[in-house]
């Protein structure tokens, strides 16, 4: 174990002598935590709307005004015909078309149902569906207000939607203002993230990215770069045991990973108000288990790569899968069924579950037993594979 001491000292000296690494250690969590959650925002603004108004009545003007009040839409102009508007959409001048049928005011006056047609450009599917959703809910509100007699004769207006230019399914958010009064009203209350703030969904994800990059990437790159530089050769002819050599790297970069994680957590706590109920032991047990997994994983990569370039590409490949498929950015429940089964095999899934539950809900060990067990199973399994593949190398 004496070897371990000076190997760690060596790692520290190397780390310090590098002008850029200590900088990355601080900058990475700060940038990821402060900026990315603000950028990765699912709220849509400035949706360009084109109106085809066949009615040209007071009611249609009221509806247009009503839409203009919302901050989500920007008028791209009026068009006389629907086909003309679709051409405009094809040119990329507008995102959503709303067609108001002729005789809307008259029909409303008679108490008949009126259909308003919405077509959304679903090339950018988020913008299309969310923008379409906003618009139909504004129309529904407007219809309710009409029904309540806020403007004039009461009559329902119905929005019917269509998404074009993409793999668009019909809008699901069409709500019908069926009559003068609403017999049932829904008032959803979103627990744990009351404002459905996408930032709070993203912040724990960023904490995982920090751990993956520093705890996993750095250690692997450091092992492989010693391979590439030939310094590992010089170590191998000394009495230093290889397991001491590798564990010194894993421990050193593991500690760095925890430091970066702590930094990320502090930013999450003080800037975004995450984990108001503590839960530190839960977080750190999860983080250490995950770091052990990443270390074993990185070791496997380093066993199979001889150059830095190779290892970075391999790492990136797997890290992308880890990040995209484990519900870090998009919920697992909205994936294809086969992909949902696949997520059971990705330990990031369990770690992200733990982080979100602890940070947002204040969950405790007892609530997350399954996740901790699975994370431990993976951590042990991958390290066994790492040791076996490592032994085969010689």
């Amino acid at each position: 174990m004496a070897a371990f001491g000076y190997l760690i000292v060596k790692e520290m000296k190397q780390f310090n002598s590098n002008r850029f690494m200590p900088f990355v250690l601080v900058l990475l969590p700060v940038v990821l935590m402060l900026f990315v959650p603000l950028l990765a925002n699912m709220e849509i603004r400035n949706v360009r709307l084109m109106i085809v108004d066949h009615d040209r009545s007071t009611t249609s003007a009221l509806l247009t005004d009503r839409i203009a009040q919302s901050e989500y839409f920007r008028f791209a102009g009026y068009c006389d015909t629907y086909s003309g508007a679709v051409d405009e959409m094809g040119m990329g001048h507008t995102d959503i078309i709303m067609e108001i049928p002729a005789g809307m005011e008259r029909d409303i006056g008679r108490g008949e149902q009126v259909e308003i047609f919405i077509a959304a450009n679903a090339v950018n599917s988020t913008k299309g569906s969310i923008g379409g959703g906003y618009l139909s809910s504004i129309i529904t509100d407007f219809s309710e207000e009409l029904a309540a007699g806020l403007y004039a004769p009461d009559a329902p207006v119905q929005a019917s939607g269509q998404e074009s230019s993409g793999a668009g399914a019909a809008l699901s958010g069409d709500v019908i203002g069926g009559g003068a009064t609403m017999p049932l009203t829904v008032s959803p209350q979103f627990r744990y993230n009351p404002h459905l703030d996408y930032k709070l969904f993203m912040v724990p994800a960023m904490m995982i990215v920090v751990i993956i990059l520093i705890g996993g990437f750095f250690a692997t790159m450091s092992i492989v770069s010693e391979k590439e530089a030939g310094t590992i050769e010089q170590i191998n002819v000394t009495p230093v045991r290889k397991r001491d050599f590798i564990s010194s790297k894993v421990v050193f970069y593991g500690i760095l990973g925890l430091i970066a994680f702590t930094l990320a957590f502090l930013i999450g706590h003080f800037v975004y108000g995450l984990a108001p109920h503590g839960g530190l032991p839960e977080l750190y047990v999860g983080a250490v288990l995950f770091l052990v997994f990443m270390a074993g994983f990185g070791l496997i990569i380093s066993n199979y790569s001889d150059t830095l370039l190779q290892s970075v590409f391999l790492m990136l490949f797997f890290v992308l899968i880890f990040m995209l498929m484990s519900g870090i950015f998009t919920p697992v429940s909205s994936m294809e069924t086969w992909a949902q089964y696949l997520t059971y095999f990705l330990p990031t899934t369990y770690f992200v579950n733990i982080l979100r539950a602890v940070c947002l809900k204040g969950s405790q060990f007892s609530d997350l037993t399954f996740n901790y067990i699975m994370l431990s199973v993976f951590a042990v399994l991958i390290n066994v594979i790492a040791i076996v593949t490592y032994k085969k190398q010689r």
Partner: protein
């Protein structure tokens, strides 16, 4: 007393590839001997070093270094050998001093204990103690690498092409250091591409395709050349080379400094004057000079197995 004893040693890196090292005959290196290995690139020199320093294990055969088996006793062996790979492999991002301190602590010693071994080399490096090893010049890097290899006072030293890419005066200095180390009783095995360096060894092994072709002292190898060797000059050196190669009496001809060395065919013992006359009369060369040349190690190297 033998320091290194090889009975048989074979190592190949792939089933389809020919073995990198394939030593069928036993050989040994005496304690305190300066043993040189010369051979073309790809002859298996580096692999032999890697085998003897326990970096790779042999497919077949065994060897002992200082009585320790290179497979069984590899951990013990690593404490008494020093290996300097051909490629600079110290930490470029650590300073000169940090590198030396690190390798000293790896062997459980410190710089002071063995300063007497490295003192005369390290004093040259001391002005640059805080410089990053990666920023040193080629010769300085070699000096530092040798210091790091010597810091634990190894009993056997393996040097893989230590002077490749080093200027002539540094090379001379380096070999003077080796001579001093040899005087302390250290066994030194060194591979080199320079024949003048091979001449300084006690014994030299010529290696090709993983085998030792000749193992003897440089003088004995030169003495065993056994063929007629001539040094030829004329006013038109390039045409001379082509013409010599056409002559039936000539086995091989190659440039050697400012002359061409000519190896005559076994049966052909014609005197130098005979060759000179043919060159002048049949090929029309002017200013021809032909003299008998005693074989150098390089001549032996050029003609062994080849």
């Amino acid at each position: 007393m033998d320091s290194i004893v090889v009975r048989r040693l074979k190592k190949s890196y792939g089933r389809t590839l020919p073995p990198a090292v394939d030593l069928q005959e036993p050989f040994s290196v005496r304690q305190g001997e300066l043993f040189g290995i010369i051979g073309p690139d790809g002859a298996g020199k580096t692999t032999l070093f890697r085998l003897l320093t326990t970096l790779v294990s042999p497919d077949e055969g065994t060897a002992t270094v200082e009585g320790l088996d290179i497979v069984r006793d590899y951990r013990q062996l690593r404490t008494i050998t020093g290996y300097m790979p051909g490629r600079f492999s110290l930490y470029p991002d650590l300073s000169v001093k940090e590198n030396l301190t690190f390798f000293a602590s790896v062997f459980g010693t410190d710089i002071k204990t063995n300063y007497h071994l490295i003192g005369d080399i390290y004093c040259r490096l001391e002005p640059f103690e805080d410089r990053k090893a990666g920023n040193l010049s080629g010769g300085m890097k070699q000096k530092l690498a040798l210091c790091c290899t010597l810091i634990h006072s190894p009993r056997v030293l393996f040097l893989d092409e230590p002077t490749t890419g080093v200027d002539p005066s540094s090379r001379r200095e380096f070999w003077e250091t080796l001579a001093r180390l040899k005087d302390t009783g250290m066994t030194i095995v060194v591979s080199t591409a320079y024949m003048d360096e091979a001449d300084r060894c006690d014994r030299v092994a010529m290696m090709k395709s993983g085998r030792f072709l000749v193992t003897d002292s440089p003088a004995a190898i030169r003495g065993d050349f056994g063929r007629q060797l001539l040094a030829v000059r004329s006013d038109e050196m390039f045409r001379l080379l082509q013409d010599l190669r056409k002559m039936p009496q000539v086995d091989r001809c190659y440039t050697f400094g400012d002359t061409h060395h000519v190896v005559l065919n076994d049966g052909c013992k014609s005197a130098p004057e005979g060759i000179g006359r043919i060159l002048e009369e049949e090929y029309g060369h002017k200013g021809v000079s032909v003299r008998v040349q005693p074989a150098t190690l390089e001549d032996c190297y050029m003609n062994v197995g080849g």
